[in-house]
Amino acid sequence: MARKLPMYKAIAEAIAQEMERDENVFVMGEDIGAYGGIFGATNGLLEKFGPERVRDTPISESAFIGAALGAASKGMRPIVELMFVDFFGVAMDQIYNHIAKAHYMSGEQVKMPIVITTAIGGGYSDAAQHSQCLYGLFAHVPGLKIVIPSNSYDAKGLMISSIRDDNPVMYFFHKGLMGLGWMPSPEEAAVEVPEEPYTVPIGEAKVVREGDDVTIATVSRMVYEALWAAEELEKDGISAEVIDLRTLVPLDKETLIDSVRKTGRLLVVDEDYMSYGMSGEIIATVVERIGSELKALPRRIAYPDVPVPYSRVLERFVLPDREKIVKTVKDMVG
């Protein structure tokens, strides 16, 4: 049976079902127990599974993220939450030098079935240390799978896939999609979610709107900005195809290239920083293969290379949105 769920409940349900299915799954993180996760992703887990399997941690990220590696090496399947992606700096060594590389460096002797979850995104004036996306930074490091759901159905299915995956998965949920009530979230993100467990494969993008004139490739909250922009563009007779990449590593190149081959135009929309990131990678991926078939130069709308400013007027100016998408697409098609 399916019912509409906000994303935070879909994620918590996925974790609960996997914890029931597999006793090796456990959760650690800051405020994930009694509080249920600041963004609700572990809502109700402590009550169901108790403090041994749902462990509130001290603010000691190097310790508890490093501990995930140790636990994984003994066959456990830890899920570790670190509240905001902005906070990862303090624990990066354990992630990019150890968790990401252990399988490779060990000559495939050890597996790292770890899920690291975190909140991303701005738009609500939380400023430079609480609003970043940074998934591009993690996608850059070999050995980490990168999952970024945009709705509750994908959130549950991708979480179950992430937990069952034998590799470290970084699972990014956008605060502005969780459906928390106190944080603005598009209604469209809370979709029907089956009660029973199911998987959404890691590495499959989804065409969320079909169109002929331009491909807009994006992830997370920007999927909705792209969809709203596509509706606007429709009024002007421009037909935009919107692709929700859903996972950056592995990247579903086929869906992306098939779409751009059809439309001949590519716009990448990214809430992460512009330079050396997702937008450049997607464009390079397409241009390397079918650059000569394009009808227009590929474009990107990403976070300009500035820290996230606090004041609402400043943040709105730099945050990608539907108006910027509409304008850019018109330039490309016009």
Partner: protein
């Protein structure tokens, strides 16, 4: 040393600053909820984003900062208004910053968690445990330049479980640097109580591990904080090395505004009221005939006026120009 040995002028300054902080925080709280009802939306209103208020913890800031000069550095946390005010940061500019205005300390780029006032050597951060190593650096600068300024690094009880805390204590001790490490223990790392996160009862005990003095003091008693801090600051200024102070305080409000605090037992709220440093100090001043009701009332009225002026200044200030968001990433022009 007791209250009798401290000049009346100093006592009234302590009280006045504590009262100004409380007035400020409670006034800000009212403004924070403007535009956030009937539905609480964190992105709405004149003060969007998170807001961490310091009500109940004033003694830690005031008892320490009264011993400091402008050239001494204070590096605060995400909850830093009390330290900013006690360090003498301009209340109008600080308020304008929190309201996201062009006249703010950082022109609206920083916001409430990222207050910078270079003239007062004050800064703070949204990342837990960030202050400790930074204060070490200020101490190095003092030593290299042959100056007698000191650095105060503030962290919560949660931050004392960060690697940065331990690394910085060791470094400051080895290099005998003029640093005061101040753990402001309010018993909670958001929802995680200290006894579930910290292996020792008092963080001051951790000083032993680094061979430096460590003292724990009751934050309900501002005079006790004053005395302990005096010794630590003077010791640092004399070039005798760092100290660790733990001030035991209570949070009168949630971790952030909008925190439902479901994790917090009733007794903790009651204790917070009982241990309120402002109430306690007011009673003491009257009981010991140090000040009259009229004298205190005059100080209180003056504070209310100053706070109102700061709010008015912010409200009457313009928002920054949106394009300002793109400027200031690099020194020397972008």
């Amino acid at each position: 040393m007791g209250v009798e040995e401290i000049p009346k002028e100093t006592l009234l300054e302590l009280y006045g600053t504590m009262h100004r902080i409380r007035t400020y925080e409670e006034t800000l709280a009212k403004w924070y909820y403007e535009g956030k009802s009937p539905r609480f939306d964190i992105s709405a209103g004149p003060i969007p984003g998170e807001l961490h208020l310091s009500s109940g913890q004033e003694s830690a800031a005031v008892g320490v900062c009264i011993h400091l000069r402008d050239e001494d550095a204070v590096i605060g946390t995400h909850r830093a208004h009390h330290f900013a005010i006690a360090k003498g940061v301009d209340l109008k500019k600080m308020t304008a910053e929190i309201f996201g205005r062009a006249t703010g300390l950082s022109g609206g780029k920083g916001g409430h968690m990222h207050l910078f006032d270079a003239a007062k050597n004050f800064s703070c951060s949204g990342i837990v445990g960030a202050s400790f190593p930074q204060a070490v650096g200020v101490g190095i600068a003092a030593k290299l330049k042959g100056e007698d300024y000191v650095a105060v690094a503030v962290g919560g009880d949660g931050a004392a479980n960060q690697g940065t805390f331990h690394e910085a204590l060791n470094l400051a001790a080895v290099w005998k640097l003029p640093v005061v490490f101040l753990i402001e223990d309010n018993g909670w790392a958001i929802s995680v109580p200290k006894d579930k996160s910290t292996a020792v009862a008092k963080n001051s005990e951790r000083a032993k591990a680094y061979g430096i003095p460590g003292v724990s003091v009751d934050g309900a008693d501002v005079i006790a904080v004053y005395e302990v801090a005096k010794e630590a600051v003077e010791r640092a200024r004399r070039g005798e090395g760092p100290s660790l102070i733990e001030v035991r305080t209570y949070r009168l409000r949630g971790h952030f505004e909008g925190d439902p605090q479901l994790y917090r037992p009733k007794e903790d709220f009651e204790l917070a009221k009982e241990k309120d440093p402002l109430d306690n100090f007011r009673k003491l001043l009257l009981e010991k005939d140090i000040a009259t009701e009229e004298e205190l009332a005059r100080i209180e009225e003056e504070n209310e006026r100053k706070v109102q002026e700061a709010i008015d200044f912010a409200l009457n200030s313009p928002y920054p120009e949106p394009e300002e968001a793109l400027k200031g990433v690099f020194a020397g022009g972008d």
